[in-house]
């Protein structure tokens, strides 16, 4: 380590008296304490500035979405929000062509994706966290690789395949694509959720007379369910947000982001802002709901 040590350079010679040393030490401590307090105040300021950086744009779009369309078209815009407060813009957006069906489609696609992805990923996540088997590392590495890949780009060849199979522009075929997109993340997250439950618990349950299946059902399952639920929520959000594959794989049965994307150029600002806000809200709520699990989600990608 190449840290310069001020104590070493400032320290008095070893033959100096004890009182001198302690006085000097006290001064150094006082200095360090003051610096720490200053540092904490500085950290608060930086933290609050960064929070503003994240929150102010959301504030802007929210105040645009929750006002009258006339205000949205007006200029200059008031930085003060919600004047006047009104659901008029949101109502206009929700009544626009294709929005309500798109909303329903989005929810259906995300729900199918959630169910399929969790069902397929849970056993795999259990396997990589509980078993030491030949090929485990290879499996984990390939999951990591797929996780990093631009999977949505594959919607081009999938579209060609779906057309030839006659399942193009179907809600469930988009859900199949989204499942491929979310599966690697879900496997890794569920794996880390299982890994956080010590195997000893399962063993103890077996010592006390549970069969392996019972031990899993009565001991492990209640402990991992919240984590798996958080993973499922995140799967839902990923599918809800996805726009490239949704636009490529659907024509009539648009999801909400796809519908907004294709009508973006031809629509006015009230539509855009209300749409942006509407898509943003669930994400913000979800992040707060699953914030405890954020590190299970993403932290372990680097491990």
């Amino acid at each position: 380590m190449t840290v310069k040590d001020p104590l070493q350079t400032n320290a008095s010679p070893p033959d100096a008296s004890g009182s001198l040393v302690s006085a000097e030490m006290a001064a150094v401590r006082e200095k360090a304490r003051r610096r720490m307090l200053l540092g904490r105040a500085f950290t608060y300021v930086v933290g609050i500035l960064l929070c503003l950086w994240v929150l102010v744009p959301i504030w802007f779009i929210a105040s645009m979405a929750l006002t009258t369309p006339e205000t949205v078209r007006g200029y200059p815009k008031s930085v003060l929000p919600f004047i006047p407060f009104s659901f008029e813009t949101m109502r206009f957006f929700l009544n626009s062509y294709g929005i309500v069906p798109g909303l329903i489609n989005s929810v259906i696609v995300a729900a199918i994706t959630l169910a399929l992805s969790t069902l397929i990923a849970a056993p795999a996540g259990y396997a990589i966290s509980r078993y030491l088997f030949k090929g485990r590392d290879a499996f984990r590495l390939s999951i990591l690789a797929v996780r990093a890949f631009p999977v949505v780009i594959l919607s081009i060849p999938l579209a060609v395949t779906f057309i030839s199979l006659g399942i193009y522009d179907k809600i469930y075929s988009l859900a199949l694509m989204h499942t491929a997109l979310t599966l690697p993340t879900t496997i890794l997250v569920i794996g880390s959720v299982f890994a956080s439950i010590p195997y000893e618990l399962e063993e103890a349950a077996q010592v006390f007379g549970c069969t392996p299946v019972q031990a899993f059902r009565r001991v492990v399952l209640p402990l991992v369910l919240p984590g798996i639920a958080a993973a499922a929520v995140f799967t839902f959000v990923m599918s809800w947000n996805e726009v490239f594959a949704a636009t490529v794989l659907t024509v009539q049965n648009r999801t909400l982001p796809a519908q907004v994307l294709v009508s973006l150029q031809t629509s006015g600002e009230p539509y855009k802002f209300a749409g942006g806000f509407f898509m943003l809200v669930p994400s913000v709520i979800f992040i707060f709901a699953i914030r405890k699990y954020l590190f299970n989600m993403w932290g372990q990608i680097s491990k």
């Binding site: 890994a195 490239f244 680097s302």
Partner: protein
Amino acid sequence: MTTEPAAPVKKGRPKRQWAPYLLILPSLIYLAIFFALPMVRAIRLAVWDETALLTLHEEASARSSSAGVLPQGSQISLLERQGIAVAPDELVGNVLTETWLRIEGQDPEGKPVAGWAPESRIRVRTTDAQGAPTEGTVRTKLGATADPLTSIYAEPRETSDVVGKLDGGASVAIGEQAVLETWFRIEGQSEERTVAGWVPSRALQVYDDVSGRIDRGDTGKFTTVYIERMLNDRFFKPAMGTTLFLMVIIIPVQFILAIIMALVIQARLKFNTIFLAIFAIPLAASDLAVGIVWYSIFTQSGYLNSILQGLGLISSAQPFLTANTRHWIIVAIWLAEVWRATAIVMIIVVSGLQAISQEVLEAAEVFGASLWQRVRHVILPMLKPSLQVALILRTILALQVFAVVIALSGGDVVTVLANETYRQYYELRNFNVAAAYAGFILLLSMITAVFYLRMVRSQEEAGQ
């Protein structure tokens, strides 16, 4: 909030070792079908011209042996024609058909004749309620040299046995109908050689009775046409340049911001979890929504102009997102992407920071290292593995930037690779060139992913 410990693995358990394989099987199968296969398909679409060559048959049947091939687009001459029975669902598109009728009548000697005749030889006189012909007469043949009698065949094709002959004008009862695809015996030039053989009408574009052109082949051939078309596309270079430029300006800023955020979290302030949750909000935000959010700031009647005018810095609203202010669009995309994707880097850095032992950090602080010294000499070196992974993840994700660009530029003034893939697919309906774009993005990602994998592996080895 704890960092995840190394996976506790069931050690030994010699029996039931098939269990883990059974557990990972569904995901393996799923990823094979929806990840590996499409990837192969994308590459195939990009370099394989599926309709490059047309096989010519010795006889008018798809099963007969090949007499040679002709490339798509060849000019050909038509020598003969013949109807061939095919499945009814194949009789769509640009298929030429001929209809044969099953008829019953009496020949000139009064003998009953039943068999098939082409529709062109029968004049239909009456039809039933559904419009199906029921009765008709045999057409009279014109010309002095022609055989005045019309041949009736055992089956609906001219090569089958003749069961009888009918005179012109003889009245017949019409039974069922058969719709046949017309096959042509064609002749064309391929590599200085003349090739002749039978082909179905669906592969041809017929000009007149004697000439035509090969419309689509049935055999594939390796081709670089699509890749060349991608490379020569007028949007390719701008898209490529913008994608790389955005990557270069976005990623460093993201990393600096993410490290600052992580240091704030690491300082364990009072409202730590609130700070973390707020910093993480953009993690779940849809890229289209983020694009629209920043559009509301940069549009001409948007917040930026409102604030600048409110402060008296400008006298009237400035246009930012127009074709003449390309640089402002780039700035808007830059801010939007930094806003959106810093969160994931932050999470990776925070979990990497938590793996650094607290004692090391405290020791550095106690010994009076300044913040900059601690960051430069303690934190950054120890964070290196996490930063590398975050860097590669971000690089690959940056290749996919799409909706933010569409929302802020409409996709014309400023364009990126993913947008060009979409344009080729959606607007130009050019699946092969779209696949070439997709393959190009895959290639760039693959190069990055190889580094990624090697790094993860060397880290795991170092960790053991």
